[in-house]
């Protein structure tokens, strides 16, 4: 947007109508928001909390500017989660940094009025200007639910409109109403001590006819999807397909990004004169960011699937099937999908924890997500296993495969221990609840998926990208300065700050068997785990390109390192947070530097302990 048209828009926002969308979870509020605002959305956080603030803008047919706030879904204004507290505070006009909306649009699922009307009455009781949108009115009509809008309007004292969030033009009636009324009258007063359930029943009896209680289609699907045996089998197939797709579909994009980064580095290298600028751009920024961006295809594909599972209504079903298992580990059924995603990459996993309402469960899930063996560990594991673990069979199994399997298990066991400890020593011992609604199944809409994916991608690139860029430059600086003295024989990195820090670190890392070359490689390896392989190649002064270097490196370290050192480094990589992108996402998602520091510290401490144990036990046995 150019500056010329920015001005009138900004001026218009001061007197534009400010509307808040409220409603129960699963009322289709976000789909309605997407329909109303399209791509004119801004996602941020509410002041001081990690609740997502989604605001959008629209112009009504008659040219009225409207600012729409999509408030978090809530079952009640007596909040049970930070999300619901925000919804209540914004409606009351007491939220920090937010003024009370001019108009509250209460969105109801027309097929689920018994639950949703109660919340509408709670909102009506606030006495603020409001109107009611009966969403999914098409689905209600299909199921034979007949709603007498005039009677409902009369009983509530506010306008009631039909909306169909999933159809183009489905919000036209709402837009017309925004034009006609703008600020509508508050609802008819409801006594503060009135029994809202009784009120709901009165409204339903007066204005709604419904022939059948539940959707036959949902009944049928749930009979299979929630079946103790068939349900778990379906879940396993779904997850298997997702992982297959993530790795198979992402691979060409990742290869493309790799090739693009190499091309860019080569051309920048050819154009720029030798010197610091070239080194900063080519070795620092292009190589460093390239190492992180290469995971973007995997991250986006995973997100696409998570969004589709969520939109379709399957995600809460998976949580239902796995809740008991996850509770045993101090987590909740809702933790499962984020943790599973973390096996590809912890970043979408941590960002997906937004679907966990309980803040304690969410924090535990975020804390243990980096322990899942992500795909960036595989190059490190592959290097060390092929160099040190003999290629032979143990009973029926390949020994190298067994070691790789053990590394995965070690991460899972570590996560279980950490979540158990977090629960055991948590100060807040209040009972955690599930109380999870299993909504009707829905076909995911391309528009909603695209907007959701776009949001996640921008958060990752814009918010997290800045931190990654800054740290990449810092790592480059540490690995480059000071330059080696004249007549130096070793690789330049040996003489740099990173080299010196690495050599100083050797004192600390000698007890776990790391030599100074490993210590140095760990520093640039903070950018992303797989970078450690190329960093080791640099330290050992192998100048070949990446794949050949990995082969040479394998032979070299097989001669120079002991088995104990190799196993120790493997154990280190199971736990160590050698990934600044993950740490940056933890900071962003918890809105807390302290949480990020705690996560980093405990992960490094665990890594050190595990490496120490691996080193000492191997030494004692050999």
């Amino acid at each position: 947007m150019s500056a010329a048209i920015e001005v009138p828009v900004a001026a218009a926002t001061t007197d534009s109508l400010r509307v808040a969308l409220v409603g129960n979870p699963n009322c289709g509020k976000t789909a309605l928001f997407n329909l109303l605002t399209g791509s004119r959305q801004k996602v941020a956080n509410y002041a001081g909390v990690t609740v997502e603030r989604k605001q959008g803008r629209l112009t009504t047919p008659q040219g009225r500017e409207v600012l729409i706030l999509d408030l978090p879904g809530a079952y009640s204004l007596t909040p049970a989660s930070p999300d619901e507290a925000i919804t209540r505070d914004v409606c009351l006009g007491t939220a920090a940094g937010e003024s009370a909306p001019d108009l509250i649009v209460c969105v109801l699922d027309a097929t689920n009025l018994r639950l949703h009307l109660r919340f509408a009455l709670e909102v009506a009781r606030l006495g603020r200007p409001m109107l009611v949108a009966l969403n999914m009115s098409d689905a209600a009509a299909r199921r034979g639910i007949v709603i007498d809008k005039a009677k409902l309007e009369a009983a509530l004292g506010v306008p009631v409109v039909d909306t169909i969030a999933v159809r183009r033009g489905g919000a036209d009636a709402l837009l017309k109403l925004l034009d006609a009324h703008g600020r509508t009258q508050p609802a008819l007063p409801i006594a503060p001590d009135a029994d809202l359930h009784a009120e709901v029943n009165r409204l339903l009896n007066a204005a709604v006819t419904m022939p059948r209680r539940t959707d036959a289609r949902d009944d049928l699907i749930d009979r299979w999807v929630l079946h103790p045996v068939a349900g778990l089998a379906i879940l396993a197939v779904v997850l298997f397909l997702i992982f297959q797709a993530v790795f198979a579909w992402a691979a060409p994009f990742q290869d493309g990004i790799d090739a693009g980064v190499a091309f860019l580095a080569q051309h920048l290298g050819a154009i720029l004169p030798d010197g610091l600028l070239k080194s900063l751009l080519v070795d620092g920024i292009v190589a460093g960011l390239g190492g992180v961006i290469v995971f973007l295809p995997q991250i986006l594909f995973l997100f696409l699937f998570i969004l589709a599972l969520e939109e379709s209504g399957y995600l809460p079903r998976a949580a239902f099937l796995l809740d008991r298992l996850m509770v045993g580990a101090g987590l909740t059924g809702r933790s499962f999908i984020p943790l599973l995603s973390s096996f590809a990459c912890a970043i979408p996993g941590i960002m997906a924890t937004r679907s966990i309402q309980d803040p304690r469960d969410r924090l535990t899930t975020i804390m243990v997500a980096p322990l899942m063996t992500c795909s960036a560990r595989l190059p490190v594991y592959a290097l060390l296993i092929s160099a040190f673990v003999p290629q032979r069979d143990v009973w029926l199994f390949n020994l190298q495969g067994l070691v790789l399997f053990a590394l995965y298990i070690a991460g899972i066991v570590g996560a279980l221990l950490v979540s158990w400890v977090m629960k055991r020593f948590s100060r807040d011992k209040a009972e955690q609840s599930l109380l999870l609604e299993l909504p009707s199944y829905r076909m995911p809409r391309v528009r909603d998926l695209a907007i959701g994916l776009w949001e996640r991608a921008t958060i990752f690139l814009r918010r997290v990208g800045g931190i990654i860029l800054a740290l990449t430059v810092l790592l480059w600086f540490l690995s480059t300065f000071p330059a080696p003295p004249d007549g130096a024989t070793g690789p330049a990195i040996d003489y740099s700050f990173a080299g010196r820090i690495g050599q100083a670190m050797e004192v600390v890392f000698a007890p776990i068997g790391f030599n100074w070359q490993i210590c140095i490689a760990l520093i640039p390896g903070l950018a992303a785990r797989e970078v450690a392989v190329s960093a080791l190649a640099t330290v050992y002064a192998l100048s070949a390109t990446s794949e050949a270097a990995a082969d040479q490196l394998g032979g070299l370290i097989a001669q120079q390192w002991s088995l104990a050192t190799a196993l120790s480094l493997l154990a280190w990589y199971v736990f160590a947070p050698q990934c600044i992108a993950t740490l940056a996402v933890i900071r962003r998602e918890t809105n807390s530097v302290r949480t990020m520091v705690i996560a980093t510290t405990y992960l490094f401490a665990l890594a050190y302990l595990a490496a120490f144990a691996a080193y000492r036990i191997t030494l004692a046995l050999s």
Binding site: R114, L115, R213, F320, R324, E431, S433, L434, L436
Partner: protein
């Protein structure tokens, strides 16, 4: 909220004990302790006396959680949560 034991004290049972697919009517939601948020939330979600409920399914491990149908809505409740709801089989 008190358990209403005037009319049905013999057949009142906890929702967690209700056999699957058996129709029942809620007679009360008990607080497990003073100021029990979970019981309060259950009432907000529509678990109030007089509402018909049914248990439709249970989780694969330890038959926990339970899938409970109330009105048009299905909720997954852990057994400890369902135990707060007192029901009277209506068949």
């Amino acid at each position: 909220m008190q358990i209403s034991c005037i009319h049905s004290f013999i057949i009142d049972m906890r929702l967690s004990e209700l056999p699957r697919h058996e129709a029942a009517v809620i007679s009360a939601v008990e607080d497990a302790r003073e100021g029990d948020h979970i019981a309060g939330r259950l009432r907000d979600l529509g678990f109030v006396p007089g509402e018909p409920v049914k248990v439709l399914a249970s989780g694969p491990i330890g038959a926990d959680p339970l899938l409970v149908q109330i009105g048009f809505t299905r909720f997954a409740l852990r057994r400890a949560e369902a135990a707060r709801v007192i029901v009277a089989p209506s068949a």
